[in-house]
């Protein structure tokens, strides 16, 4: 599905308190929904401390689903191998619970790891090597308030609001949210 045409404004701030005060008026003015305004930082802040975003991210489903896949795959691999290609060792049963259990445990965890990574990539939309709105000052501690708006007029308005609210640098873009 093609992305909807949009405009972006990235305002760089120096202080947490300043950007915290800037967020709400901008959200109200442009009726911004969750996800269309973001705070770009080089370190995690407590969730919803500055920009509230209530979109869910149920990574746990990925962990569970992939974990279950690993569980059954291991049973097929470890148990099935013994069953189909039986090595008769001292009359022991072809399907042995203990070894199958061990392999199953390891595979379940391996696939859970994979599920976690898949979930992370799915919800963050990574990898994305396109030229998205960003400024390298962010990795040196600047706080980037990124806004997605529908038209140029709103973009100009938002840039003005950010500037007035204390942003020391404004970067405007198109279709690069």
């Amino acid at each position: 599905m093609a992305k909807q045409a949009h405009y972006t404004v990235l305002g760089l701030y120096g202080k947490l308190e300043v950007v915290a005060n800037a967020v709400d008026p901008i959200r109200e003015k442009f009726a911004v929904k969750d996800g269309d305004i973001q705070l770009l930082t080089s370190a995690a802040l407590p969730e919803n401390a500055i920009v509230e975003d209530h979109r869910p991210y149920p990574i746990v489903y990925f962990v569970w689903v992939l974990g279950i896949v690993g569980f059954f795959l291991a049973i097929i691999l470890a148990g099935g191998t013994g069953w189909i290609m039986n090595l008769n060792v001292g009359g022991k049963p072809p399907f042995s619970w203990a070894p199958t259990g061990i392999i199953t445990y390891e595979f379940t965890l391996l696939f859970s790891v994979i599920g976690t990574v898949v979930g992370l990539l799915y919800f963050t939309g990574l990898p994305d090597w396109t030229d998205r709105a960003y400024d390298r000052d962010i990795s040196d501690g600047a706080l980037g308030l990124l806004l997605k708006v529908a038209n140029v007029h709103d973009q100009e308005e938002a840039a003005k609001m950010m500037s007035q609210s204390g942003a020391y640098k404004i970067v405007k873009g198109e279709n690069n949210f």
């Binding site: 950007v19 995690a44 990574i59 390891e106 976690t116 040196d140 501690g141």
Partner: protein, 502 residues
Amino acid sequence: MSSETATGHETHSHTHGGGHHHSPEELKSLTELEGLRDSARNKAKADYGDANIYLSEKDFNDDSLRPMFETKPGYFLFVIALASVMAVGVAAFVRQMVVGMGVTGLHQPVFWGAYIATFVFWVGLSHSGTIVSSILRLTMANWRRPILRGAEAMTAFSLMVAGLFPMIHVGRQWRVYYMFPLPNQRELWPNFKSPLMWDMMAISIYLTGSLTFLYIGLLPDIATARDRAISNGNWRAGYLRLLALGWRGGNYDWAVYNKASLFLAVIILCIAPSVHTIVSWDFAMTMTPGWHTTIFGPYFVVGAINSGVAGVILLMIIIRSIFKLQHIIRDLHIDCLGQLQLVIALIWLYFYFCEFNVTWYSHKPEEMAVWDWQWERFPLQLIAMVGGTALAVGLLGFKKIRRNMKAMVAITILINIGMYCERYLIVVPVLSHRDNPYKWTDYWASPTELSIILMSFCFFALLYAVFIKVFPIITMADVKEGVVISGDVRLGKHAVRVQVKE
């Protein structure tokens, strides 16, 4: 994208950081620390709190990325020296492949020797990295922050080194693919009922999980390094851009990332102990006296963490002194690791005592024969094994010792020498003294084995040295997070560091 206005970067670098880094003047008004400001600042630099909130984020990035971006001639000499020693080991391995396993000291009935002891040692060393990292993440121990990367990298690299040894040990390496679940010309799949097969699966999975854990932890820091490399026109920009996956640190991204990191920490915490338990079952699942014991699983795991924590401490001290990072990996962090080492060492001694006491008190002849053989033939190794850890327990109780880097280096090396001896004593005396007395024999590692073992240590050091040059060795995002949520408040006559926790 067009840039409209831009204020001077100088101003920005002093004020950015969202109030993360308070200048002394700001602190004064912010927390009413007048009169206590200077003492608080000095104390924070010395031994107080986790994060140094007086270091600006740009300065912190500069310092943390310096090991990566600045290379002195000594580094190349070091790498060449490592590679030269490794070349000897590679030559010894090639000779072993061409001539056969006869060039080793292995012979009837000692078919597991120094290779297997070294394998167990490296697997053990790998344990502490991710276990410590996971536990400290989950318990939100703030002193964990700068050391996580070094610990996680140690896990990944020691596992890579460990994985070589079963392949070196088995001989006829060209048939090693028999271990993989691939149909082969005999139309047989691996025998999953063999503990060796469990071992192979567990270590492969642990390595995969550890590398994933390391990479996910690296992601925000790779993005920081990417930005720095692009700004400086550094050659690293290409691969860093690729590996950063386009990370830009949005608030939603951070929320997802933290949740994923939490899941990974829990999962890795489940994998790690299982791996060394399974390694212990290589021994314990046999009916051999000295090996067939129920305590082996947890005993191996605790031994692994004992040597692993010592390994982390040693590496951290080396890194901070070579790259002058004493203000980031501070005495406080080594102190805390020393306290952790003390606890683990005590637990290991307890386990060893349990194993020894049960065997000695029951006095089963076949078990006692192994003990007697150990005392008779390997007294120095036994003394090193118990003495190294016992000495650590005696000394690590003192704060002065834990903050004395030379002492800590000596203690951690002693612990690891002891733990290597432990692995040797588990493998060799048992086999050289098993079954009928006419088979009893001595085993000495041959020059070929010693060369390959030495190669493994150089290989580990080389992997680590290369890693430091291609990725940030300090867990930057984690440290910054600690700074964001830190501040000083006044408590009576003192300034106290507090951190916000959700």
